[in-house]
């Protein structure tokens, strides 16, 4: 059996409310909140980045996996906000966890789906018996341009998953990837903020790929939406995942535990993986879970997981996502937020 042997997440404690951003740019907060189905989002502290978020998420995954970090043979960090342009985030993460030096490292990048890319490769390496354990992380400290719609959603956080063959808590039953060249959202080298194709990001990008990957994995596996206890879809805002799920035949109840975007925002590479982690926090043995990511550019990775009995032994060994979402929140005003996110031009 190949699957997840430990999982963990990390969210920064800082938050900004949608109202605060809306007031700054003269937008009506009620309309924005209703349109995007968002209340607030996480904001990284000035001393947090994709590397520090990855380390904390991975430490929680290690607590649940209860393995020696030196046995991790591959470590992959998926993010669109790697702190270095050249020098893998994974090198620092592996050093901090004590997984060095006998480990294969790579950083992945694919807009919002870099986390599930890391998961896909980690799973494949374990299945091929190339490594005993492989750690996959999806983490981001995403930026939206000031005044842009993305500023309401782009947030920070991440989740880590350790794949292995012994002590599996969620077995991987199937995977499917669906990818095309779709210029819905991009950032050129050196540009600070990404650009997006406005309405073009919906139907031909998000829905085409999410629905394409989900339908294909359902066809391939023979499962129907009703067979699943839970389904998690990438969450660029509150509305898109609920609409996608409904069109596929999933109910709100199946999506609710992983639909954490109203309080978290879109953590990009950490979005669907963190929704999945929140679902693992409450899933029961034998439950089936569908996970479908989406990354602009564009593509979707789909996974079907089946929970094992071991989930009941490990879920309480690290902080649960609900607690991270609801406790120790520190609210920022827009000025503080602009400073924290480096949006203020300073003298050298």
């Amino acid at each position: 059996m190949v699957g997840i042997v430990g999982y963990g997440s990390y969210l920064p404690r800082y938050r900004i409310k949608v109202e605060e951003i809306a007031h700054q740019w003269g937008r009506d907060p009620v309309t924005v909140k209703r349109g995007l189905m968002l209340n607030e989002k996480t904001v990284p502290g000035m001393d947090e980045d994709t590397i520090t978020i990855s380390v904390e998420a991975a430490k929680n995954a290690l607590k649940r996996a209860n393995i020696d970090p030196a046995e991790i043979g591959a470590l992959y960090v998926g993010s669109e906000s790697h702190p270095y342009a050249v020098k893998p985030s994974g090198t620092v993460v592996a050093e901090a966890l004590g997984a060095v030096p006998n480990v294969h490292i790579a950083d992945y990048e694919f807009a919002c789906k870099a986390g599930t890319e890391a998961m896909f490769v980690a799973y494949g390496l374990v299945k091929a018996d190339l490594v005993k354990y492989a750690l996959a992380i999806g983490a981001d400290t995403s930026q939206g341009a000031p005044g842009d719609a993305l500023e309401f959603s782009a947030s920070a956080g991440g989740s880590a998953f350790i794949f292995g063959k012994e002590g599996v808590i969620a077995e991987v039953l199937d995977t499917f990837s669906y990818t095309t060249d779709t210029p819905d959202f991009w950032r050129r080298e050196g540009a600070f903020y990404p650009l997006h194709g406005g309405r073009f990001t919906g139907e031909p990008a998000y829905f085409k790929h999410i629905l394409g990957a989900a339908k294909a994995i359902l066809d391939k596996s023979g499962y129907k939406p009703a067979d699943f206890a839970y389904a998690v879809f990438h969450m660029p805002n509150g509305k898109f995942p609920l609409t996608a799920g409904k069109r596929l035949g999933f109910t709100k109840a199946q999506m609710e535990p992983g639909w954490i975007v109203p309080l978290m925002g879109n953590t990009y590479s950490g979005s669907s993986p963190t929704g999945f982690a929140a679902t693992l926090d409450i899933a029961k043995p034998d439950d089936l879970i569908l996970l479908v990511s989406f990354g602009s550019g564009a593509g979707s990775d789909a996974f079907i997981f089946k929970m094992t009995k071991r989930i009941d032994d490990v879920r309480d060994k690290a902080e649960k996502l609900k607690s991270m979402l609801e406790n120790n929140r520190i609210y920022l005003d827009y000025g503080q937020y602009a400073k924290y996110r480096g949006k203020i031009i300073m003298n050298e």
């Binding site: 502290g45 000035m46 001393d47 947090e48 590397i51 904390e56 901090a96 966890l97 520190i330 400073k339």
Partner: protein, 129 residues
């Protein structure tokens, strides 16, 4: 350029690695070459507990240039649950939240950047539990 000290101190800064004297059991953080208790030179590798207690704290309001944008920030003397005292930043809190006796946990954070083009230096800080 990255300093050789930074690279050498990674085990303690990144992973809280400490040294435990094989002879008298005293714990040292950062690790040392000779035990201050018994003079022994043999140590076992161990780690600081991930949690500790605030023994004393202060707010920094006038900071060195690299930390100027972070003021006011808290510095505390923390005793780890396995009995080692370290001076560390306490982040993600308001000044009024700090109290002697409160529990903290060690976390991995960015310490400073060597300018806009240099390396990013990481290490431990603490947050209130």
């Amino acid at each position: 350029m990255p300093s050789p000290t930074y690279r050498r101190e990674m085990p303690q800064r990144y992973r809280l690695e400490a040294a435990k004297c094989k002879k008298c059991g005293k714990l040292f953080f950062p690790p040392r070459l000779v035990c201050a208790g018994c003079g022994s030179k043999e140590f076992d590798k161990t780690k600081l507990s991930e949690t500790g207690t605030i023994l004393s704290h202060t707010m920094i309001r006038v900071a060195p240039a690299d930390f100027a944008t972070q003021v006011p920030y808290a510095i505390a003397i923390v005793e780890s649950d396995n009995g080692v005292r370290v001076t560390t930043q306490v982040v993600d809190c308001k000044p009024e939240d700090l109290e002697i006796g409160k529990k903290v946990k060690f976390i991995f954070r960015k310490l400073y950047e060597e300018g806009h083009t240099g390396i990013i230096c990481y290490g431990y800080k603490t947050v209130l539990v």
